[in-house]
Amino acid sequence: MYETLVEKDTLCYHCGDPCRETKIRFEEKHFCCNGCKAVYSLLSENNLCTYYNLEENPGNNAATPFFKDKFSFLDDKSVSAQLMEFSDGDVSKVTFFVPSIHCSSCIWLLEKLYKLNPAIKSSRTNFVKKEVSITFHNKEISLKQLVELLTSIGYEPQINLIDLEQKKQKKTNNKLYIKIGIAGFAFGNSMMFSFPDYLDAWQALTPDFKMVFSVLNILLAIPVLFYSASDYFISSFKGLRKKILNIDVPISIGILALVSRSLYEILSGTGLGYFDSFTGLVFFLLLGRLFQEKTYATLSFERDYKSYFPVSVTLVEAGSYKIIPVSKLNIGDTILVRNQELIPADAVLVSPKGSIDYSFVTGESELVEKRQNEILYAGGRLSGPTIEIKIVKKVSQSYLTKLWNNDVFKEEGHAELSSLSDKIAQNFTFIILGIAVIAGGYWLTVDWKMAINVVSAILIIACPCALALSIPFSFGNALRVFGNNKFYLKNIRTIELIKSITHIIFDKTGTLTWQQKPVISFSEKLNKNDEELVKSLTNNSVHPISRYIFNFVKGHEILPSEDFVEISGKGMLARVNNHDVRLGSAAWIGVENEQPQTTEGSVAHLLIDGIYKGAFIIKNNYRPGLENVLQKLSGDFKIDLISGDNARAKDFLSKLFKKLKIVGELKFDQSPFDKQEFIGHLQKSGEKTLMIGDGLNDAGALKQSDLGFSVSEDINAFSPACDAILYANQFEKLPLFIKYAKSSYNTVRISFILSFLYNSIGIYFAVIGALSPLIAAILMPLSSISVVIFATLSTRINAKRLGL
């Protein structure tokens, strides 16, 4: 984005992009385009120039204006009602997701919206969630006008089909905070009241004091037991009903033993019980829960085609245009699709022709040329002039979207798989119950009171608090380390699952290749004049290949071109400075022997005044470090490659595979369904699969696979449902990430051993009948804290060691 386009970079005052020409000026300031200038003049008119003082060049590039009526669908009552959070006769409140929020200037400006339009009462930005909530007078400004206002200052809200179908669920941790607050409050106070007990002064207290301390402790424990700790009871109850002993079962047993033993001691007047340990235990457990619930507010791991597809379409009805929500689209409707817009449902082309970019849908990287009456599949992106299409299938029944009707998408993830701690909990619970029974049986022969004491003490001290904390803190820390490296995991279970993976399957387009930055070369040598001609010609076109060539060619001056014609799929020509300049395919230019030959990418031949000058070769670039990544991974995993693209790249990849001695399969021309089936097949043969893909075409495979990672150039842009999102420029680190995940797993194992050690010490005291509240009060926090420290330190040190 920041390549040098002009010798001396003049940065746009608004957005900070380099200015290609220096003509656009306003109030002594340079702008890269008229869009940016317009935003600046709007803000300066309204005294909002503080925007530019808070951060340098804070704006979002406004070069491409939105077409009129883009947001007309918001005038539809049913649509606006769905989006609105609250609305009465006068005031409405709405919250938008605005991906372009990125700095403090954004916050400032978006909270000053009322200055731009008095109908806006107030607005509030949430920087982390990239959301802005706006309260406005709905009679004076419509939702559509509001969205247009936001868009006009460079903050276009992202409105998806999914927002319209279901109300956004506000996911907050509020309940957890309250639970922790109450448990922490009870813990602190309870410890204070138990202090005489720690000093062995309980028996010396007067009955009045005993009474007050006991009552207060019980009062403190009640909300902790019934509110703060309720999740553990509910979870273990649910587990037991399904005949699964999860980690919450021994925790619940421990909690119940603690509370009943304490009540017994207080009622019988023998002591103050262990209410301090009980409240502390719940407090620490909940803290662990808070720590592991690291969520990425702006990322979504559950996206389906609905968050990719357009919300509205332009319906052509008796010659006039009407914007309707896509949900109201019927078979037989004719709609208008503009350049860079998506095709919402399978349709036939009504216009003579159009070129469609299916790269995201099928993995095919070349534009596909379609003629009248040919079928267009949903999800393709139009590249070129506006076309009209006639819908033949409903949105949800289209070729690609049918994928989501498959059974894999109806399952509730892999929730039923028992996790590491649950597996350990099973054995653990039986061992503890065994010890309790044996010790209780032995003491019963001595003294029944002592037997009750010992059994309850064992159950108390064996409560696997440290055990339950080791996973949240080890994996929770690892999750943060990954996050710092732009590898975003859905939850901590993903780390656990990485360990069991045996087989990795890659997609090609967008995953192994780097579409944004192709390698360009020119077969001959261009002189300075010709360079300027090519640059001026390609400046007219928005076709991706033209843009690449434009950026590649040096030339400084853009000359005016006349009679520019662009022929989709063939090439373009124009008269530049009285030269006839043509750039295009071999057949169109009239080159007979197609040289240079290329196996990967596209070729554009150049003809100036009828003289053949050579050809630009645009190669799909493979991600840097690809060879390295494959080599490192091939040591531990079986590797396959499965692509929706044609077999053009086969030579290169099979050579690479051979060189690295990988005996994986290379499959090309695979449909999204083929991919999913391929994964399912591997799973049946006992493999644990990791699918790494990027587009909608991988959605089925990502979901089917035991683990699915999605590679994304822009993490706020669409990525299909998956377990983790990998920022594309971190692709090289993939083997490192996997290694780190495994090392975190080992950390958990060591902390398990550590917490078992503490448990054994505690159980020793319990079995000999010497567990005093003091020992319990020391041992429980000590074990928890030391496990937390160990887990945190060792995951952080491991990360440093690996260079993450």
């Binding site: 916050i107 949430n126 920087f127 907050t172 509020n174 309250i178 009045d208």
Partner: protein, 49 residues
Amino acid sequence: MEVLFILIGVSFTVAVGFLVAFLISVKKGQFDDQETPAIRMLFDDDVKN
């Protein structure tokens, strides 16, 4: 020693006060967004228009 009853009462009341303040702050959404307010407080107030 009996003065302890008063002290316990006072300390407990103060602690409850803090708990209530915490609960109110959670309910009011102060924990929903822990990033933006930190930035917002650094903005200058509008002097006069």
